[in-house]
């Protein structure tokens, strides 16, 4: 009885529009949960939605590939959405010009610290070389991170995992954390979210404050550029300073 129900459900999940509806509904549940907790960043709708969807796919034996035949349509919209970030950036262009020194310094320091500390911590705790190389570009937006990972000898599929998990962590700590370290300025909060947590943290902080979202969007692009230039050089220097 349960077996045949699962088979019917698996058949239904093969219909692309069903995967789209499932994804959207799961996300609405996640957003509802976040609202219930007064918008706390710790209650992350992306994580909740993904967990719910897995809980449906797993018992039905539906593969990720099958799910993506429908969900790929939602995934596809990430491209135009990234382009659309130009609009809030444009709206805040005077603030960005005004704070150009802080923006560039924040990105250079933040991206370097994120990268070096990821490599250092993984190495120190005995991660394999494949993991170390794959974890290095984890703060960069996914397509750029894949390119960097290939260039420095990491495993792109593993890098994608690290990038997404990093984004969720950054989104979750992008609330209270800034109060604790005494950063009240929304421009600096947004920039930091974009530097450390690319698009996922940008989405979270954009839902709270539009100016912060603009600085986060700007930081995605600049962090990608900065890391793509810096990291291949840094990895080549590792043997020279006695690591690796």
């Amino acid at each position: 009885m349960i077996g045949s129900l699962a088979r019917i459900a698996a058949g239904v999940l093969e219909i692309p529009v069903i995967a789209v509806i499932l994804t959207w509904l799961a996300f609405e549940v996640g957003r509802w949960a976040q609202r219930r907790f007064r918008g706390s960043a710790l209650v992350n709708p992306v994580l909740i939605a993904a967990t719910l969807i897995i809980a449906v796919l797993e018992p039905c034996g539906t593969s990720y590939e099958t799910y993506m035949r429908g969900a790929g349509l939602i995934h596809f919209l990430l491209g135009p959405a990234a382009v659309a970030l130009a609009v809030p950036i444009y709206d805040n262009i005077d603030r960005i010009r005004h704070g150009a020194a802080g923006v560039l310094a924040g990105i250079a320091v933040g991206a370097t610290v994120a990268c070096v500390s990821a490599i250092g911590l993984a190495w120190w705790l005995g991660a394999s070389e494949g993991v170390v190389r794959s974890i290095a570009p984890k703060s960069v937006t996914t397509p750029v991170a894949i390119g960097i990972s290939e260039e420095i000898g990491g495993r792109p599929s593993m890098t994608v995992v690290f990038v997404i998990v990093t984004g969720i962590i950054a989104a979750m700590i992008s609330g209270r954390f800034f109060d604790w370290i005494g950063v009240r300025d929304w421009e600096a909060r947004g920039l930091a979210a974009g530097v450390a947590g690319h698009g996922i943290a940008t989405a979270q902080i954009l839902s709270v404050n539009r100016t912060a979202g603009a600085f986060a969007g700007l930081a995605i692009g600049l962090t990608g550029l900065f890391t793509a230039i810096l990291l291949p050089i840094a990895i080549r220097l590792l043997p020279i300073i006695g690591l690796g």
Partner: protein, 131 residues
């Protein structure tokens, strides 16, 4: 509104083409974002329709990451053997990167309000207001 989606897609398409041709270390959508920003600066702002399309897409930005996140949750068991160094490295570096970026930006902007912008010629408008 649908036409504005086309504008976004064309910018992304141009970005992808530039990415292919120049091997620039930026993804197509990010290059597309720069192109659209350039267009808006030249044409003094987005049209009402473009703004509406951008706002509705960005209002659901989190949703767009869900399919990728589903793939990740399915992949996690593979990383079981090295979960401790991975978890510490991801948490630690994200906290450190975020804190340093925010603190540095706040400190620099308090110390040198807008001077740098003038030097590299970016500053327009109320130059020197806070000096």
């Amino acid at each position: 509104m649908a036409q504005s989606l086309l504008t976004l897609l064309v910018c992304q398409g141009l970005g992808e083409l530039i990415h292919r041709v120049t091997a620039l270390p930026l993804s197509g959508p990010i290059i597309g974002m720069i192109i659209l920003l350039g267009l808006m600066v030249m044409r003094t702002g987005p049209s009402k329709e473009l703004r509406a399309a951008a706002n509705s897409l960005l209002g659901y930005l989190s949703l767009l990451f869900v399919p990728a996140a589903v793939g990740v949750v399915a992949y996690l068991p593979v990383l079981q053997r090295e979960w401790l160094p991975i978890a510490v490295a991801l948490f630690g570096s994200t906290i450190l990167g975020m804190a340093s970026a925010a603190l540095v930006m706040q400190a620099v902007n308090r110390r040198y309000p807008s001077r740098f912008g003038q030097q590299i010629g970016l500053q327009v408008g109320e130059a020197g207001d806070d000096e």
